[in-house]
């Protein structure tokens, strides 16, 4: 039996705003919400005891599960900073260290949630990038002059107009190593992005968007969840194919479920849109016409300013006006966004706070990126090890120590809570 609380024992005690009609939101569109604070302490009809609920009356004092949860923006900054650091070097030892650092933090701190599994997908993608890059180098040759010939592939003679392209031919160790270093850099960047995805759900970032951009943000996130849902559908329909006695593997099996999968995905999108609309997505507040016009003027003017400023920066003679125009444009656009946010009545439920931990996490990433950027200028030989002649790359001490700073989040952030494992899908009741 399901040992649920019998309704009688809670009657009138746990219901939201028991017995107060005044606690309802808006009687009509645009009406202000009568603040129901007092209602929490007013007993409803049939209430036998004072409301024992922990949340009543106290606004935001409840500890949230994982209350110290770090702002998702901090995780993204940290991961992107590590990624930036990875673009500053081709030293395989440093890159390996960077990947190891991000992997350690991910294993230690990723939440137990479906989106946290995306890390594995990114690692696979990174490996694929490595393999493809090496294959291309092997087949198409490499501009790196090398003396250590590993193998000579039969070369396909190409006509004159395809000069500069080579198919087959000598494969040198130098060329392969160069390609490997280069690909490692991209792979490390991908893995860092994967770490950001695993540590902080991208849709949580939405909460930090300015109000005016929120709805666009939702559209983007919904589009992003399209792919995972599609994969789940493919799996379900392939299982169903097995029920029909058709082979459930192979390319043909995949192709034949294509149409039903797309149909299902589109249907789900429409259903989601309906559900979001029915729950008030896209409601707008009435704003005075003057504010609307000012918003439009500020946003448009700001964007024009940004364009003009960028142009000024890029052309030789615009060096004087470029920076101020750019800054003014950015400021105007930001003001426009802020003013545009008035049209959206949205509020935020428990917005993420940018606390000291978030500063530490973001700063640790930033330091890694900064040190590697400086080192790349000061000591290019160590960060871009040469391949001709072929030498083993050395680990530059200071940059490596700086990379280790990236481990900081694994120690300053709270551990994710464990789900009550070993429970079947049913709740622990």
């Amino acid at each position: 039996m399901r040992p649920a609380d019998p309704p009688g024992t809670r009657a009138g005690s746990a219901h939201p705003d028991p017995g107060t009609g005044t606690g309802r939101p808006g009687r009509g569109p645009g009406s202000t919400h009568p603040h129901p604070r007092s209602s929490a302490t007013r007993p409803g009809p049939g209430a036998r005891t004072a409301h024992p609920h922990p949340g009543s009356g106290s606004g935001a004092a409840l500890p949230r599960p994982g209350s110290g949860a770090v702002h998702p923006g901090a995780w993204w900054l940290w991961a992107l900073a590590l990624g930036t650091a990875a673009t500053r070097t081709t030293n395989p030892l440093l890159l390996g260290l960077l990947v190891a650092v991000s992997a350690y933090v991910v294993t230690a701190r990723r939440p137990h949630a479906p989106w946290a599994r995306s890390y594995g997908a990114f690692v696979k993608l990174a490996l694929a990038v490595l393999v493809i890059r090496l294959l291309f180098t092997t087949v198409l040759g490499s501009p790196i002059p090398g003396t250590h010939v590993l193998v000579t592939l039969p070369e396909v003679p190409l006509p004159d107009w395809a000069q500069g392209i080579r198919l087959g031919g000598r494969v040198t160790a130098e060329g392969l190593v160069f390609a490997l270093y280069d690909a490692l850099r991209l792979a490390a960047l991908l893995i860092c992005v994967g770490a950001a995805n695993a540590l902080a759900n991208p849709s949580r970032l939405l909460k930090s968007l300015p109000g005016a951009l929120y709805e666009t943000g939702v559209a983007v996130v919904v589009a992003l969840t399209f792919a995972p849902n599609l994969i789940a559908d493919v799996q379900r329909l392939r299982a169903a194919r097995r029920l029909r006695g058709r082979p459930d593997r192979g390319v043909r099996g995949l192709l034949q479920v294509g149409l039903p999968v797309l149909e299902g995905a589109l249907e789900r999108s429409v259903a989601l849109a309906a559900a979001m609309d029915a729950r008030g997505y896209g409601r707008t507040a009435r704003v005075p016409a003057a504010v609307r016009r000012t918003t439009a003027a500020l946003t448009l003017g700001g964007l024009l300013g940004v364009c003009a400023g960028t142009y000024g920066l890029l052309t030789a003679e615009g060096g004087t006006y470029g920076v101020p125009v750019l800054l003014a444009g950015v400021a105007a656009a930001l003001a426009g966004l802020r003013l545009g946010g008035r049209r959206s009545p949205r509020t935020r439920y428990r917005p993420d706070r940018w606390g000291p931990r978030a500063w530490l996490v973001a700063a640790s990433g930033a330091v890694v990126a900064a040190v590697l950027a400086v080192a790349a200028v000061r000591d290019p030989a160590a960060l871009y090890p040469g391949v001709v002649p072929l030498t083993a790359p050395a680990l530059p001490l200071w940059p490596a120590a700086a990379v280790l700073l990236g481990l900081l989040p694994a120690f300053v952030t709270p551990a994710p809570e464990r789900p009550s494992a070993a429970q079947p899908a049913e709740e622990p009741s």
Binding site: M1, H15, R241, R246, D277, R279, P419
Partner: protein, 560 residues
């Protein structure tokens, strides 16, 4: 609070209006039940309340629908979001965010409630619906009952004055359904919320309704009235009402309690009579052709070991299945003989579907053995397995790929290597009057289920598995399904059905197996198992206890 004024809805490219002449009013604080056979437009009426019909579905709405004084013609769904909360049939399609807590807050965020109000209401709703332990859980990991409760909670938090629910308990086990209904009851009583819901399982909800809006047939005007009056002439009614009609009680009882108080004379008439025994299976099915020698593969399924012929259609010994880190089944033993019908019951997430998946080889056992006739399901090629086991999944649509019924049937014959026309003939027998060129998507829930059943039966599998077959079926469709399944059992098919529907289990099953937390906790004759527990007992058994009658049909037969 909700007022329909002579409303009719015609969808684009439809000749007939989906609903016509709908004219009724639900006053504030009432729980109104929308009843009727499938396909009469219940969902259309519900959608019209929240403005989704016609703003989202297209089509033409004539007449006027007002909710709390707002005309849905001039108010889009988003402008009604603060007065109407609606939950559709599939809670998963309803979810916008990723975790329970965020989902509960979503509607309030859109309406712009102050943060401290949101905070308090989320906590209160978590308690109200018993979800406090799940607050941080990703929605994708919840069971069906949990999802339904989260979906209801997510529309409750903005405190809508009207709640619109489409089949809120159909996917739930009896205990979870009672929980959801208790919550609704409380909203109506304590908060004066107006509730309009459609539900096929009238036995669960009719006693809570203040009034019933009955849509008797497609396009027909609705009948309104107190539940007892409407049930007297309704084409759909719960067993307790049917028993009341049979015994000639007036006014009709709506609850088991009412019925029990009048059942004395009926019990007297039935004393000394025995529920009729089930006929033994007439014939054995022809044995399926032997498993073809497997093609040589680099990797993949190895050859099915030639198994000795088994007296059972399905045999499971010491089965354990893991799904991720969850132990979905542990040490399950089950044997099903040809001609036997077994009902698997248990709460949502107890492992019923996993057991069916194991029987058809969709999941590999972590320990123990599974046999379907002479084959080991997960090691047998789909083509061979088809003639041994057939599964009608929870969502029959998954089985259907073609764009017409005829093409679907032809494909089924090809898959099963049956004589051309086999599947179409079966379908004609089970579901007369379906045109060849109908798109499977346009069929009603019950028709689609029957089509999927015909597709599966084209291969004549001795073992037939059905996962939650009565979800979304009205009583007539359910009765037809029961007739079909009983006929198949008499031909010698072994049938295993996973269901929450106690009435169906009572009607069909020879044996009931109760699962909990992946283990078998009861296995015995249907009458014994279902009457042993109040949540699994069918209404007739509760009314006539201590006699062991399970269905109205049994009583009717005995009295005749």
């Amino acid at each position: 609070m909700i007022r329909f004024e002579n409303v009719s809805v015609t969808y684009d490219r439809a000749a007939e209006p989906a609903v016509a002449g709908v004219d009724f009013e639900v006053p504030e604080g009432e729980l109104a039940l929308l009843a009727g056979p499938s396909g009469v437009g219940k969902s259309t009426v519900l959608g019209a309340v929240g403005g989704l019909v016609p703003h989202f579905t297209g089509g033409t709405l004539r007449g006027r629908v007002t909710v709390a004084g707002r005309d849905t013609r001039t108010h889009k769904p988003r402008d009604l979001a603060d007065v109407v909360g609606s939950v559709g049939q599939d809670p998963l399609a309803h979810f916008v965010t990723d975790t329970v807590e965020e989902e509960l807050a979503y509607g309030m965020e859109s309406l712009g409630l102050p943060p401290e109000v949101m905070r308090r209401r989320v906590e209160e709703t978590l308690d109200l619906l018993g979800l406090a332990g799940l607050r941080g859980r990703p929605l994708a990991t919840l069971s069906g009952g949990q999802r339904q409760r989260v979906a209801i909670g997510s529309v409750l938090t903005p405190h809508p004055r009207v709640l619109v629910l489409d089949e809120p308990t159909s996917a739930l086990d009896p205990a979870a359904a009672e929980e959801v209904l208790a919550v609704l009851q409380r909203l109506v009583h304590d908060l004066g919320t107006t509730v309009l819901m459609a539900e096929h399982r009238l036995e669960r909800v009719v006693q809570y309704a203040d009034r019933v809006v009955l849509l008797p047939a497609p396009g027909a005007a609705p009948v309104l009235g107190a539940p007892a009056e409407v049930m007297a002439l309704s084409p759909v009614c719960p067993p307790v009402v049917e028993l009341g009609r049979l015994a000639g009680w007036s006014p009709l009882p709506l609850t088991v309690r009412d019925a029990r108080r009048r059942a004395g004379p009926l019990r007297g008439r039935l004393a000394g009579l025995e529920p009729p025994a089930r006929p033994a299976p007439r014939a054995a099915l022809p044995a399926p052709p032997p498993v073809a020698p497997p093609r040589r593969r680099l990797r993949g399924r190895s050859a099915a070991p030639a198994a000795a012929p088994s007296p059972y259609a399905a045999e499971v010994r010491g089965l354990a299945v893991r799904r991720g880190r969850v132990q979905a089944l542990r040490h399950v033993d089950l044997a099903v003989s040809p001609g036997e019908t077994v009902a698997l019951m248990g709460r949502n997430g107890a492992g019923k579907s996993t057991l069916l998946s194991a029987l058809i080889g969709l999941v590999e056992p972590a320990a123990g053995t599974v046999r379907a006739g002479d084959a080991v399901p997960h090691r047998t090629a789909p083509r061979d397995l088809l003639r041994r086991v057939g599964l009608v999944p929870q969502e029959p649509r998954d089985l259907l790929y073609a764009d017409t019924v005829a093409a679907e049937c032809e494909a089924a014959d090809r898959d099963a290597e049956a004589a051309p026309g086999t599947c179409r003939a079966l379908l004609g027998e089970l579901l007369p009057g379906v045109a060849d060129d109908t798109h499977p998507r346009d069929l009603s829930e019950g028709q689609r289920l029957t089509l999927a059943l015909s597709v599966v039966l084209a291969a004549r599998p001795p073992l037939l598995l059905l996962d939650e077959p009565t979800r979304g079926l009205d009583y007539a469709a359910k009765a037809r399904l029961s007739g079909i399944l009983r006929g198949l059992a008499a031909e010698g098919h072994a049938i295993v059905l996973a269901t929450h529907d106690v009435e169906l289990a009572a009607e069909l099953a020879d044996r009931v197996v109760l699962l909990a937390e992946g283990e078998v906790i009861a296995d015995g004759p249907a009458a014994d198992v279902v009457t042993a527990s109040p949540s699994f007992a069918p209404q007739v058994a509760k009314v006539l206890a201590p006699q062991t009658w399970l269905t109205v049909a049994q009583v009717r037969q005995a009295l005749a």
